[in-house]
Symmetry: C4
Subunit: 195 residues, 4 copies
């Protein structure tokens, strides 16, 4: 099967997810600068989630660049990833409104599940393309993905001691991923444009 609709559908869902979070930044009831202050935690949560979801879109983009075709398992592995990403707005808003142990831990739980879903998607793609494919070599052992899962696990535990340290770890994961995956970009560069 062609990958173009999987890309288009994922683009649509991720575009909506990344944009609807901002709907919860409700315009203040008055026009004073001080009225923006209570929105600050929500706004910082929004920035964090915008970046983390943006990272998924970037990596998804890179991953699908080296994908030649898809099958039923890949469609569902992708749907599974979109399911967890669709919970990000809920977790973002809750964390932004209640910066406490449970909401911060739940936020990490959703990110953890999305990270695992992304990992499963890469495996489904490698299985379909073969271990000798450009894709398999480009993804490699995915140390970064496993490291993220480890950091999220630590952040979830930390949330019960200090939500701030926990949120700090989420920022660490974001920074770690912010640079697009050189593994794939190099492989693509080696053989010119794929697609």
């Amino acid at each position: 099967m062609h990958k173009s609709r999987l890309e288009a559908f994922s683009d649509g869902v991720i575009a909506i997810i990344i944009t609807i979070m901002v709907l919860e930044l409700r315009a203040p009831e008055e026009g004073a600068l001080s009225a923006l202050l209570p929105l600050l935690p929500k706004f910082l949560s929004y920035i964090l989630s915008f970046v983390l979801v943006g990272i998924y879109w970037n990596n998804h983009h890179h991953l699908l660049q080296v994908t030649k075709s898809v099958n039923g398992s890949i469609l569902w592995a992708n749907m599974h990833l979109l399911f967890w990403l669709s919970l990000v707005p809920f977790a973002t808003i809750w964390m932004g409104e209640h910066f406490e142990a449970i909401p911060v831990a739940i936020y990490g739980g959703v990110q953890w599940a999305a990270g695992l879903a992304y990992f499963i998607l890469t495996r489904a793609l490698i299985t379909h393309h073969g271990v000798d494919s450009v894709l398999a070599k480009a993804v490699g052992r995915d140390h970064k993905g496993l490291r993220s899962l480890f950091l999220y696990t630590a952040a979830i535990a930390l949330a019960f001691f200090s939500p701030w340290l926990s949120a700090g770890l989420y920022v660490v994961v974001a920074v770690m991923w912010l640079i697009p995956d050189p593994r794939i970009e190099e492989k693509v560069a080696e053989k010119g444009h794929i697609n």
Copy 2:
């Protein structure tokens, strides 16, 4: 006419439908784990609808893979399917908030109508491509579609005796469809990539 915009428009509508349901999972007023408990029925309804709408997207994807071109009737048959799918968020939220006979039956009614609309769409496509086309052979007699309509009918009746049994039947339909249609995937595989 080309099918690409029909695919793009359907992708857009389905992406929005699948994502806006999550907007109704409002973040709790407090940060305790117990505050998530009242959201559980809504969350389970969301998962069910995410999977059912995801199945429509998957099957639509498979169906359009073997489609060569479209005409006016197909555009409207597709619009008719999207209309019923657009009512899924409403039915999901109502069922999630009031797990009682009427909302559970209405949920089944919407799914029943969407199932019928999908069936009509396959017929419009077969009429356009001819009964000897790859598409017609791939879709075949569509036992699975008819079986779903039968199960939804039973579930609607059951809702008045036990909403739980009724919801159980919706899960059965979801599981039945979760595996992408082997009829079409085989036909596509036989003759390589179509599109």
Copy 3:
């Protein structure tokens, strides 16, 4: 300029417009069938608007099929059409909640403006393609578009005497357009697939 992004952007905006209207069909506070009754006028408004916006998408689809390229004026003529369509959800909800002279007339006003915007878009496309182009011949004198504007004008005036008669005229316009434009479909059929 290529037309593909104009199509994609229009698909996105129309998909959102057609879907967000349903967000206003709020799930009732209780689980009884009688709780659906007060939603009926909103639901009927939704169906009417779904069909009318669906008609725009269909006609836009047909129109862009015979379009070869676009320029700056066409981009803005299209944006202008999308602006008026974006007001349809507002007008739909108001009419659904207050089935009275003013909201029903405003609904007609929005449809009238969208109709005019569509007419302007066809003129911009004909100017760009030349009066001897397939597009110009396919669109012809656009009697149907002018007839719709006339019917909307009548419906706006009628709204002050009888909202029901006025709404009846909106249904007449919908039925009149429901069949995809044979003018363009024939021209496309004559010369095979364009695009």
Copy 4:
């Protein structure tokens, strides 16, 4: 990397941004014409933002027409632009509800940041394509972009003296950009369709 998904994702996000603003135009509680009056400032804010975001989409469209490929920095420069655009609905609604110094200045601040982000995006594209590329020549020194940033700066300062004059400057920027960029359109015209 191919540019098609960057276009599709941007189209999706911009389509959602431009459409969700209208959700805040809530249908009045009664059916009288006078009930529309309090919506007027919100409606004017909506028109302004629709046009300004529409300008971004148009210019983005023109810019990507002369783009051959993208890299990681471009993906993030684009994401950065979408981030600021995603704040436009918030600023629009606040300004529409509280037409006072701070909300009007914040509106300008968001537009200023989006303008800067667009400027950064053009630089990232020029760096990637080389200073001798069609793109670099088409964009040139981008006087219009710099002039907009200057006008936004002035408007932010003016907001504290007169919100009306400040809003007047936003309209000036909109009018200034409303005509699609002749620099790029000419270059495209010179060498036929690029893409």
